[in-house]
């Protein structure tokens, strides 16, 4: 029987899902760029988000300001981190020449390293940052809307759309797309492909500088939280099709809504199973994603 309460729950789930999905999308978009364009099998994207969140904490502790103000510090911080890791970390540059598997394993090691390094310094305690924005939480009818989530969702979507616009309509975007579609042809046309990869890496990780402060007041974080986001991010990217930014956005929204629907309607805490099942389904039956080009070897 579909009661009014059920409808409210459904709406609630959809609203929250859309907002959460927007945030996932921001994470996934950076991931999609790095994976699809620079072809770097980055398993550390989640860990960089974790670092961004801790940086936000540091900023808040140091200045006492709202976490959102921290964006001013965290974004350049992440961009610099990206720049130096690309340039100096042994083989972030070298590994683009490795086969995918070796890259992935290397990044896996890097991930363990980062996670446990942070763990060593800040401990395993779950952190969350409080914000006075919760004062502005409101209701639309019976549906509860949390202000921090609303802000995070809206800003994420705006950023994602901005990124999409840049990729589609600016010269920078054209360079990035050309380098991803045909690396050799791009360098024959005068494009410095290595520099393009670095730029993509910086944009991808720099965008986490926005995501971190937006997410820190909503979800608790701890040193290995990166794995969770990474999984979701990968799922969004695969669902949307590799390198397809708009697809990652839609993938994020599907994941977010699936997660919330699962949380609401599935028993116990088995909510997250829904997006994972959707992911496995897409992977098995349509691995190129909902929007991507076929990647399976077709006979």
């Amino acid at each position: 029987m579909i009661t009014e309460a059920t409808i409210t729950l459904l709406l609630q789930a959809i609203v929250v899902g859309l907002l959460t999905g927007g945030i996932y999308a921001l994470f996934a978009v950076g991931l999609s760029l790095i994976l699809g364009v620079a072809d770097i099998m980055t398993f550390v994207h989640g860990d960089f988000l974790m670092i961004a969140m801790y940086l936000t904490l540091a900023a808040v502790v140091a200045t006492g300001a709202e976490p959102y103000v921290g964006i001013i510090l965290v974004v350049p911080g992440m961009a610099m981190l990206a720049y130096f890791s690309f340039k100096y970390l042994p083989a972030v540059t070298k590994i683009t020449a490795f086969p995918h598997m070796r890259q992935m394993l290397y990044m896996l090691g890097f991930s363990y390293l980062l996670q446990n390094l942070i763990l060593m310094f800040v401990g395993a305690r779950h952190q969350i940052i409080s914000t006075s924005l919760t004062k502005y939480n409101f209701f639309v009818g019976d549906v509860f809307v949390s202000m921090p989530r609303l802000l995070a969702g809206v800003v994420s979507v705006i950023l994602t759309i901005t990124l999409m616009w840049v990729i589609k309509y600016t010269d920078l975007g054209r360079i990035i797309r050309a380098a991803s579609q045909d690396r050799e042809a791009a360098s024959l046309m005068g494009i410095n492909v290595d520099k393009t990869y670095m730029l993509t890496w910086i944009i991808g990780i720099g965008s986490l500088g926005f995501a971190g402060p937006l997410l820190a007041p909503i979800f608790a974080f701890y040193p290995i939280v990166g794995n969770y986001y990474l999984m979701i991010g990968f799922m969004c990217v695969v669902m949307g099709g590799l390198g397809n930014i708009g697809g990652a956005l839609i993938g994020g929204i599907i994941m977010g809504v699936a997660l919330e629907l699962g949380n609401v309607f599935l028993p116990g805490s088995s909510g997250p199973i829904l997006p994972f099942l959707v992911f496995v389904g897409v992977l098995v039956f349509k691995p190129e994603g909902i929007f991507g080009k076929p990647i399976r070897s077709k006979r």
Partner: protein, 617 residues
């Protein structure tokens, strides 16, 4: 390995290749625990357990190359199922171990079917297994019969050997020692026999493996089943040793990562690698945890992460490669060539090697009319579209048994596409292919190879990390499942193509000319009736060309194998081919003897190009 030792290829003797090291270790391993304290004994048990986990995962991840995060799933399922049987039906873990392993293996086969059937591999497969891990965790937290998030307890009040309950740690040591030994023996057997060679071939190059008869699906399923079974058994041990576990500790991200790190650091894809990795890394981690664990938590994991990175950068073949390189250095220092082949070759004739379903060579006569008896391949109205492009357009031709049939044409004429359809790598859009009268249209490449059509690839498709001999063995295993026979046949074929001195050289170190010969050898090893040669001459020098031409002629004359060859070098076509087919834009423009075809004006035009009419401005 001398020829004489091959006379008695008992299944137990040759395939194990058990080094004295293993046998010598046994008394040490049996007696060692009696001399140490409880804490050290615990460390030994942990080392052995990780060795077993890494060793079992090595079959799927190392041998077959399917890197993934599924080990905790199998370990967890084994633990949960056997413990459920114990707690609810009082089934002793000694039996529960096997029941749980069988159920887990069945689940693994379903998972494998879904992923492998649709060709999901590489990073996508890895990600899919992470999802499976998280799904398992969520399921077991929420399903009512497995203790939910509190997990399951096994209560030990007194020692009951029949229920695998011991108050003393020592028996657990012996149990895990036995399990680890079983893992080692299974892994060793697989490595030295047909499954190991075929799994490694899949890892190195799936397309090449398929082309020599490897059934990809079946062997991937084999790998995942073996890994699942062994890991589930280990899971049962783990449950009974720890006596407590929950979904978070069972399906833990770290288990998957550690299994990979230990395997890779030790030497992925080798027999000893995972065991060596566990032996070195686990004690190291324990020492770090003991010294610094209280002050700096998590440091041992930092070290693990750093180890993985360093190994991948500088020592991609793991610690074991240090031992291997050391051994080679020592041999070289003593003036011995470590790659030297021990045998001098048997000088066996080709016709002796090829007796599989073949008529006597003198039945090949291309001037005789094509009767049903001597047509070996019949291609009818073959068409292949790529989107709107007709790569092959309504092509029909027949090939007679025993002849050398050439296919020529400009770049993009559809020659390789035709080959791919005959060999099964592509399915035709329209048309049919009949081999020895039987319809083989659209069959998978490994089935077509088994039927008797072998092929080479235009760009040589090799197994980089296998030696030349191992490469040819992948092919010879198709008709000779016993390792010793497959090895002898491989050596004989290498001798015929002139690669015997390089039998122990890694394929990635061979020259182009050698690789071309190896392509032919690999295809020959499957004992084909038709050999498809795709531009074997390209890139060879004059001298090398003459040698290969001679080889092809020898193969055709001495064994009666029908040869269909794509070539651009015209004098080769002239000297070898009985009949030639000319393609252009996917269509046939001429067919006949090489003299007829090369004087055909249409052919001349297609190759040299049309003269263009234009005004000289």
């Amino acid at each position: 390995m001398s020829i004489n030792s091959l006379q008695k290829p008992g299944l137990l003797r040759r395939p194990f290749n058990l080094p004295w090291l293993f046998i010598g270790l046994i008394p040490v391993l049996l007696l060692l625990p009696l001399t140490v304290r409880d804490y050290t004994l615990n460390v030994f048990i942990i080392i052995l357990m990780w060795a077993a986990i890494a060793g079992a995962a090595n079959v799927l991840i190392g041998y077959t190359g399917l890197v993934c995060f599924i080990p905790p799933v199998f370990i967890g399922l084994g633990a949960y199922f056997s413990t459920w049987l114990l707690l609810n039906l009082n089934v002793t873990p000694w039996i529960g171990m096997f029941i749980a392993a069988i159920v887990t293996t069945l689940i693994a086969l379903v998972i494998g079917f879904l992923f492998f059937r649709y060709g999901v591999g590489g990073v996508y497969f890895a990600l899919g297994t992470v999802a499976l891990m998280l799904i398992s965790q969520i399921l077991f937290v929420n399903l009512p019969w497995f203790g939910k998030s509190e997990g399951l307890y096994i209560i030990i009040r007194e020692t009951e050997p029949l229920m695998m309950k011991f108050r003393n740690k020592l028996p657990y040591y012996y149990i895990i020692l036995a399990v680890t030994s079983i893992v080692f023996l299974v892994s060793n057997w697989i490595y030295n026999n047909k499954p190991g060679y075929w799994l490694r071939a899949i890892r190195e190059n799936e397309a090449a493996a398929e082309a020599v008869g490897v059934n990809l699906m079946r062997y991937k399923q084999f790998a995942i089943a073996v890994t699942a079974f062994l890991l589930a058994m280990i899971g049962t041990f783990w449950a009974n040793f720890l006596t407590y576990f929950d979904p978070y500790s069972a399906f833990h991200w770290e288990i998957a990562g550690l299994a990979i790190i230990i395997m890779v650091a030790g030497g992925a894809g080798t027999v000893w690698g995972p065991f060596l990795g566990a032996l070195i890394l686990v004690p190291m981690a324990e020492i770090i945890r003991a010294q610094l664990g209280s002050t700096i938590p998590g440091f041992h994991m930092v070290v693990y992460g750093a180890v993985l990175m360093v190994v991948l950068l500088y020592l991609p073949d793991g610690f074991l490669s240090i031992a291997t390189k050391g051994k080679r250095w020592l041999l070289k220092r003593n003036g011995v060539d470590p790659d030297a082949v021990q045998t001098n070759g048997r000088n066996v004739s080709l016709s002796e090697l090829f007796s599989y379903a073949k008529p006597a060579p003198d039945q090949a006569d291309s001037t005789a009319p094509a009767t049903d008896n001597n047509i070996i391949l019949e291609v009818s109205k073959l068409t292949r579209m790529f989107g709107g492009l007709r790569a092959v357009d309504d092509l029909s031709f027949t090939v007679r048994r025993g002849e050398v049939f050439g296919i020529i044409g400009p770049n993009g004429a559809g020659k390789t596409t035709t080959f791919n359809m005959i060999a099964g790598a592509l399915a035709p859009t329209e048309g049919s292919i009949k081999f020895r009268g039987e319809n083989v249209t659209g069959l998978l490449p490994h089935v077509i190879c088994k039927q008797g059509i072998g092929r080479t690839f235009q760009v040589t498709q090799s197994f980089p990390k296998l030696t030349a001999m191992e490469t040819v063995m992948v092919g010879s295993f198709l008709r000779h499942p016993i390792t010793a026979h497959a090895k002898q046949r491989a050596l004989d074929i290498l001798e015929v193509v002139g690669l015997l001195p390089k039998a122990n050289v890694l394929t990635e170190n061979l020259t182009l000319a050698d690789l071309k010969r190896l392509e032919i050898a690999k295809a020959l090893a499957t004992d084909p009736d038709i050999l498809l040669l795709d531009e074997v001459i390209s890139g060879l020098t004059e001298v090398e060309t003459e040698e290969v031409v001679g080889l092809i002629r020898q193969i055709n004359k001495e064994t009666g194998v029908t040869i269909i060859m794509i070539e651009h070098v015209m004098h080769v076509i002239m000297s070898l081919c009985d009949r030639v087919l000319v393609l252009n834009f996917g269509k046939q423009i001429a067919e006949g003897t090489s003299e007829e075809v090369t004087s055909d004006p249409q052919v001349i035009e297609a190759y040299l190009g049309q003269k263009v009419e234009f005004d000289n401005a």
